[in-house]
Symmetry: C2
Subunit: 376 residues, 2 copies
């Protein structure tokens, strides 16, 4: 919610990490970028901006204006928009560009855009001179609540998504709420899938507000959208601080993702947005949660899973392609990197706002979950 | 020194790091590998070994024997020996190999070899699934005392050495002293350059032993070589624990390296070993140390720099190619990634066993250091 004139803005959430690596997630206009760089101890004169061909034309001028006045010398590179830019080839291209410019270890890399740009630029920052200071400037809901927070960076590989990458934390995140006003509707809704996920796994109060304010969210009411995004980001901040390297509870953020990644693989990357695949995955995961709690589930889900299901349904994911078989989807889950040596691991809900990990899940429960996600 | 039968081996040095990432540097036979994996909490069944075409034929059987008996399933890849394997292309090849085998986040990557293999396999481990457990099995002096300890991983780039990489710490280091017996003489001497470096910057007692025992070292007396390597490794362990990301005193390990990297660039990588370039670089750095302490230096260096110089001279570095000009060398230093925004930074000695950083070094002192390194 924009602070009334004269009031103090709410304090930034801080990702608490060992080794002096704490960092803040600011919800603030891009115009404040130079101040935040200074306060984070970053100094010029050169800054590299990595963006994409959609976001660059919208916000690169604002970044240049914010930095130019403070004496920064801004160099920018725009990669093609879309998942295909998360490749070893594009990563190598960013490195070539940066190294030919002549960076040093103090040169910040600013990732201006959504999840693709954040993951690509983050991996480049992680691997240039063994690590340049990274700043995320997320411009989508999904990036502001999820991908810009927590240090997962990387690119895709022929054998699967996100298989090449590094854990590399930014110096800070600056999320400008105004950038969400230019998001295409489909991207907004895709981002809300991650908001719903964060609410379902960890924040029952946020579930209530989503149920109440859904229409205003879709209308992009600034106050409602701003508060929801901030609260959903806070869930991620807390989880990352508790488990930086995903050896424990951080895996709860994969709610809907084991199913969802299989959908993305089998539907072909790009046919669905990430959020649409996650929404489908959450339908399956909510059903699985009900199955594990109550045994065989037929027809309407029992409480409290009906409530979780209804919230996921508001995301209105497209139907799963009938040509993709449940077996193919289940096979695709086997390649997910979140598997352990002992087999697939699923995140299931115990209640609205509370999740846990489940291993050794029966095959028929998985098959029933796929059928449910199809609307059968 | 090999422990007498029935005695307790000396405790392993431990690199103390925040976030539960402490790790041990064991000096122990490769035959003990399965036990160390188990004690580090790593479990099979699959382990990936990355080695090179020189070291593989010598020690891969020993690794297979050590692991096979403990139920591990070993997959191995040997890259061509030599600096050219530190490339983005080879890194990408290691990733393709590992991902097609179907690794999971528990699959350890074992780097069996010298610095090239450690840097390449380490960077692959750092970037596979955002980080697989890494174990260094260094088989050269330079790797046992320096490159396998401290988490620097990476490959070279068209614009310079080690410009692409990550800080990524191993789970443990297992250095088998017996592997040093198969090192070519030139590699042994090259490794001793790093031993001399560690002694000069941080361990005056080790300087004394090097002066006394040099001939036994060159003869590979197991007890003498073993103790010297262990003590030189301990210097690295201490420095890394104090400054993991090279924001402070870790830079002292670059003694001789700002000059040395320039020599490598201008002589052409491969013409000199890394240790030979560092030995030449240390001659220049010792002279620079004397200049900064005493003003213009002509003829024999004043104490205590004469003593440091004599120890470096035992490394018998080849002469610097007369076709390479001092100006070209000085230019080459400008591209070194250890430079700061404020200019080149040199490590100089205050005394034998004590070093510091020097910035804003006069150009004529650098030129005089190059002339000294040439023997002029």
């Amino acid at each position: 919610m924009p602070a009334p004139p004269g009031s103090t803005p709410p304090p930034a959430a801080v990702v608490a990490l060992p080794g002096g690596r704490d960092y803040a997630v600011h919800f603030d206009p891009l115009a404040e970028l130079a101040r935040h760089l200074r306060e984070a101890g970053l100094r010029g004169p050169r800054a590299l901006v990595v963006t994409d061909e959609t976001v660059g034309p919208l916000y690169l001028d604002a970044v240049r204006a914010a930095l130019g006045g403070a004496g920064w010398d801004v160099e920018a590179l725009a990669v093609p928009a879309g998942e295909a830019s998360k490749s070893v080839g594009q990563w190598s291209g960013v490195l070539d560009w940066a190294l030919r410019l002549g960076v040093d270890r103090q040169t910040p890399v600013l990732a201006l855009g959504g999840g693709v740009v954040g993951d690509l630029a983050g991996f480049a920052a992680a691997t240039l001179l063994r690590g340049l200071p990274l700043v995320h400037l997320p411009t989508t809901v999904i990036a502001q609540v999820d991908s810009a927070i927590g240090g997962k960076t990387g690119v895709n590989h022929a054998t699967g998504k996100n298989l090449v990458g590094a854990f590399y934390q930014p110096r800070f995140v600056l999320a400008d709420p105004a950038t969400l006003q230019t998001l295409p509707d489909r991207e907004l809704r895709s981002g809300l899938a991650e908001v719903v996920k964060h609410a379902l796994i960890a924040d029952a109060a946020l579930v209530e507000r989503l149920e109440r304010d859904w229409d205003q969210l879709l209308d992009r009411d600034e106050a409602v959208l701003g508060r929801v995004v901030r609260d959903a980001a806070a869930v991620k901040v807390g989880v990352v601080a508790a488990d930086e390297f995903e050896t424990g509870d951080r895996a709860l953020l994969n709610f809907g993702h084991t199913f969802g990644h299989a959908v993305e693989r089998e539907a072909g990357y790009g046919a669905l947005t990430h959020g649409e695949a996650v929404a489908l995955g959450m339908r399956a995961a909510v059903h699985l949660s009900a199955s594990l709690a109550s045994g065989r589930v037929a027809g309407v889900l029992p409480a409290p899973f009906d409530r979780a299901d209804a919230l996921v349904a508001r995301l209105a994911p497209p139907a799963l392609d009938a040509a993709v078989s449940d077996d193919a989807l289940t096979d695709a889950m086997q390649t997910d990197k979140k598997r352990t040596s002992r087999g697939l691991r699923f995140v299931v809900l115990d209640d609205v706002g509370r999740a846990r990990l489940a291993e050794d899940v029966p095959a028929d429960a998985i098959a029933a979950a796929w059928r449910y996600a199809r609307g059968e």
